[in-house]
Amino acid sequence: MSALIEEIMKQSPPPSDQKPSAKDFQSDQDVRWCPGCGDYSILAQTQRVMPDLGIPRHQMVFVSGIGCSSRFPYYMNTYGFHSIHGRATAIASGLKMARPELSMWVVTGDGDGLSIGGNHMIHLLRRNLDINVLLFNNQIYGLTKGQYSPTSEQGKVTKSTPYGSLDYPFNPASLALGSSATFVARTLDRDPKHMQTIIKRAAQHNGTSFVEIYQNCNVFNDGAFFKFTEKDSKDDTVIFLEHGKPLIFGKEKEKGIRLNGYSPEVVSLKEGKWSQDDLLVHNEKDTTLSFILSDMTYKAGLPRPVGIFLAIDRPVYEQEMVRQISFAKEKRGDGDMVKLLHSGDTWAVQ
């Protein structure tokens, strides 16, 4: 860290003994999302979780691209950068390398993060900088008034696809896993508690955390996820992944997921044919299993997996960079500009 910055860091006040409140994380800007937008809940949960992280506001940065979701940083009373479309992950990467001590958050959308920003996203994931990515997936382009997105279901009729979209959608979790991500999770705008735990876990993960959040756009794609979020259906359509626990779901927890060979299938725990012991047990640390589980996402007859698919440790990019620098300094001493200018072949002219 440069001398100048160390200066400033010193000024950081001693963590005050009284814990900040969610309110402390609300900025003075009026929130400009449509009434009823799922983004409100995500903002609320995030602000609720922040105090528990024990990180002072001034050491947090929220970086976003462009989109309704990307307005997020304006509403957080932290440092923020509402950048250009698709580039939040790249900007955050540079900032994180320059300032590894900051708590870095990227807020992006299914268009911002997976369409125009797809490349920076997959490269961030493989590099594994310690950045938390919250991807608001509403399966639509909100800000531009309703075109289909890379996560929209095939055949979707939108302004730009009056005959239905032809693209097969990304499964963001599989894309992240295929990009060698170290932390991949999915949660729901209408399940505050679950979202809070996931956001906390993402913050605690040392490395890039990829969190897909199903978010309702009530203006252009209303109800896209109601199947998974509403009382009457959710118990049978969603399965919550919990580390070390068997995969059970259903209103009375009467159903489970078992591996038939290596293919997941739903079995009933009521007929007595199958018991808990036959079920697949979740293991966040297993990359192979993470692929198996995320591959369930679009498979007919299987519940939608929600929770943490994978959470493994791997060297963190900016931390390794710092290590290389201290190593170089030990080995060669602090760089001396005068010495450098006069290094190698030089000669004097009288």
Binding site: S2, M60, H82, A90, G94, A98, G335, T346
Partner: protein, 613 residues
């Protein structure tokens, strides 16, 4: 042993040419370092193909390195060469045109077998037919002689072949009376861990020298005395290296970490390579997934309080242009280095050109003013990068630092600057909460405060939507937008308060003013000098700052009958001068991927002078 006479020369131009696999660039650099250390002034021009190692003997595979050195002031790599070292037929074919009549050819006969001749498109062997009578031809079987020199070591013929360039180098060292030490030391350092390759190269180098000393073929050798350079400590340096060091020097002075976000591209990659070595200077280099990530990561680093830099060439600048617009809007320091190459599109990736001036001036959506500074010589890249960083930090603005393939790869002796005498750069991070507003501007520079994440109490949000004056909040009000657009323009204009007035080389009024920018400095300077010697009223104005321009440029232009603007493009600076100052400036344009020859410019000036008579 044969009698050898010695002649004195003021200046000489030598061109080494061979296959891309023959190590001509290395040979040239060695000759350059040795020559530099002898105190000659010099200028070099590497010229290599876009292919890595094109098949041996082909015309498109020829790689050349030209060095112009002398006891007088040297401004260009030389219009033509006096000596051509041709390792094979293709090398001769490609380069013969640049050899002066009566010049010397040293040809490796082994490179002129039937296959070579066919590939080069020679019906008959030029070494034996009469076609080279205009020249002093020395045919030497360098390959065979190299083999002899290494017999004792029984190396693979591949290894033997690899060191034949040192034989040629040895010959040239003898012919121009240069010591072997520098190269010997270099070989020992470079191949320290490959003993037999080291030994082989040393043997061959000396063999080349001895061969010339003992055999009849060279009756004369030449003496080129040291140049009268300003006293001081010197080193030889390429433009890319100087540019990298200039950035490092600025960061050090400013007490900031240097962050480079870059994606490799010819001819800019060497800056990335150079900077990645200096981890012990705290330099952070990031090879991004593409140019957009290169520039945006650098901007992110700037937000965090680093000196953010991105390096690229023309196609990369095109890709970065949207992000540079963001930098204009968020008003953070950012140095964008453009080492220009032949365009449009992929164009001529390894050749030089000056055709990105209008792109960097105007290539962004909306009114997005960005200052521009351009280096004039390889060594000047140091000061240029330093100044670019200084202005970026003082005015909180992205800035273009312009170089080109010729400057980046070319080299010259450099009077090593006194680091401690360099101007201080004192960026301030805002820390006082009292009265902090993200867009409350400094009254003099109009720059906004730099409040970096981690500073208690200064939490704020920036972004690419229009900002409200002072508060920096998103704002769509018509008047505010106009105000901010004009404010951003005015801020860049004010940089003119911070840069020296333009200085004319020669009289401040007269018949012809030759205006240039960037890497054409040397050739224009030589051309103008020749005219001034003949008493013609010709002066030279070389613009270091293209945006904003020094305040006195207009006055200067108006004092001359004619304004001539030589550029390696179809006329870009000339357009800017005409639009800004309404002067009937005329362009002189060459766009062949090569620097100007001084003589071309000299002739063009001649024409104009005739017109005036």
């Amino acid at each position: 042993m044969a009698e050898k006479t010695t002649q004195n020369l003021d200046e000489v131009t030598i061109r080494f040419a061979g296959d891309s696999g023959d190590g001509m660039q290395l040979t040239g650099m060695q000759f350059t370092n040795t020559t530099a250390i002898l105190g000659n002034d010099l200028s070099t021009l590497p010229d290599y193909p876009a292919e890595i190692r094109a098949p041996a003997g082909t015309l498109f595979g020829v790689s050349g390195f030209q060095i112009h050195f002398g006891s007088t002031e040297i401004n260009t790599p030389g219009d033509q060469c006096d000596v051509l070292v041709a390792m094979n037929a293709a090398a001769l074919k490609v380069n013969l045109g640049s050899l002066i009549d009566g010049g010397t050819i040293i040809a490796n006969t082994d490179g002129f077998n039937d296959k070579n001749l066919k590939l080069a498109g020679y019906a008959t062997n030029p070494l034996v037919d009469e076609s080279l009578q205009r020249f002093h031809l020395h045919s030497v079987d360098i390959t065979k002689l190299t083999g002899h020199a290494l017999q004792s070591m029984n190396l693979s013929s591949k290894l033997v072949d690899r060191s034949k360039n040192f034989f040629a180098l040895g010959m040239m060292y003898w012919m121009y009376n240069r010591p072997l030490e520098t190269t010997i030391e270099w070989i020992q350092k470079k191949f320290g861990n490959k003993p037999d390759i080291m030994e082989a190269n040393l043997k061959v180098l000396k063999a080349g020298w001895n061969f010339s000393e003992t055999t009849e073929i060279f009756s004369v050798r030449y003496e080129v005395g040291p140049a009268k350079l300003a006293p001081g400590q010197y080193r030889n340096i390429t433009g890319n290296q100087a540019l990298a060091w200039g950035l490092m020097a600025a960061a050090k002075k400013a007490n900031l970490d240097l962050f480079l976000g870059s994606y490799p591209i010819t001819p800019a990659s060497d800056i990335l390579h150079e900077l990645s070595v200096y981890k012990h200077f705290g330099v952070k280099t990031f090879q991004a997934e593409d140019e957009i990530a290169g520039v945006t990561s650098a901007l992110g680093a700037s937000f965090g309080g680093a000196l953010g830099v991105t390096t690229t060439s023309g196609p990369g600048v095109a890709l970065k242009s949207e992000a540079i617009g963001l930098a204009v809007m968020v008003e953070l320091p950012l140095v964008i280095v453009n080492v220009q190459r032949g365009g449009p599109s992929t164009g001529l990736p390894t050749k030089t050109e000056q055709s990105d001036l209008l792109q960097v001036l105007f290539g962004r959506n909306g009114e997005a003013p960005v200052p521009i500074i351009a280096a004039a010589t390889p060594a000047d890249c140091f000061q240029t990068a330093f100044d670019a960083s200084r202005i970026a930090l003082k005015y909180m603005t992205p800035i273009f630092c312009m170089s080109d393939g010729y400057l980046g790869n070319g080299s010259e002796p450099w009077l090593i600057p006194d680091y401690n005498a360099l101007p201080d750069i004192a960026p301030k991070f805002r820390t006082e909460k009292e009265g902090f507003f993200p867009y409350l501007r400094d009254e003099q520079t109009l720059s906004r405060p730099w409040a970096i994440p981690g500073t208690p109490g200064l939490e704020h949000r920036i972004g690419g939507l229009e900002k409200q004056h002072i508060t920096g909040n998103v704002n769509y009000e018509p008047e505010n937008h106009e105000f901010m657009v004009r404010m951003r323009a005015e801020k860049v204009e004010r940089i003119a308060n911070d840069i020296p007035l333009a200085e004319v080389e020669g009289d401040v009024q007269g018949d012809v003013l030759v205006v240039g920018w960037g890497g054409t400095y040397g050739s224009i300077k030589s051309a103008v000098a020749r005219h001034r010697l003949r008493g013609n009223s010709v002066s030279h104005l070389h613009l270091r700052w293209l945006n904003p321009m020094p305040r006195n440029v207009g006055e200067i232009l108006y004092k001359f009958k004619h304004v001539l603007v030589p550029e390696l493009n179809l006329g870009q600076l000339v357009k800017v001068l005409r639009m800004k100052y309404l002067v009937p400036a005329v362009g002189f344009n060459k766009i062949q991927g090569l620097p100007f020859k001084a003589v071309d410019i000299e002739k063009k000036i001649e024409e104009i002078l005739k017109g005036t008579k």
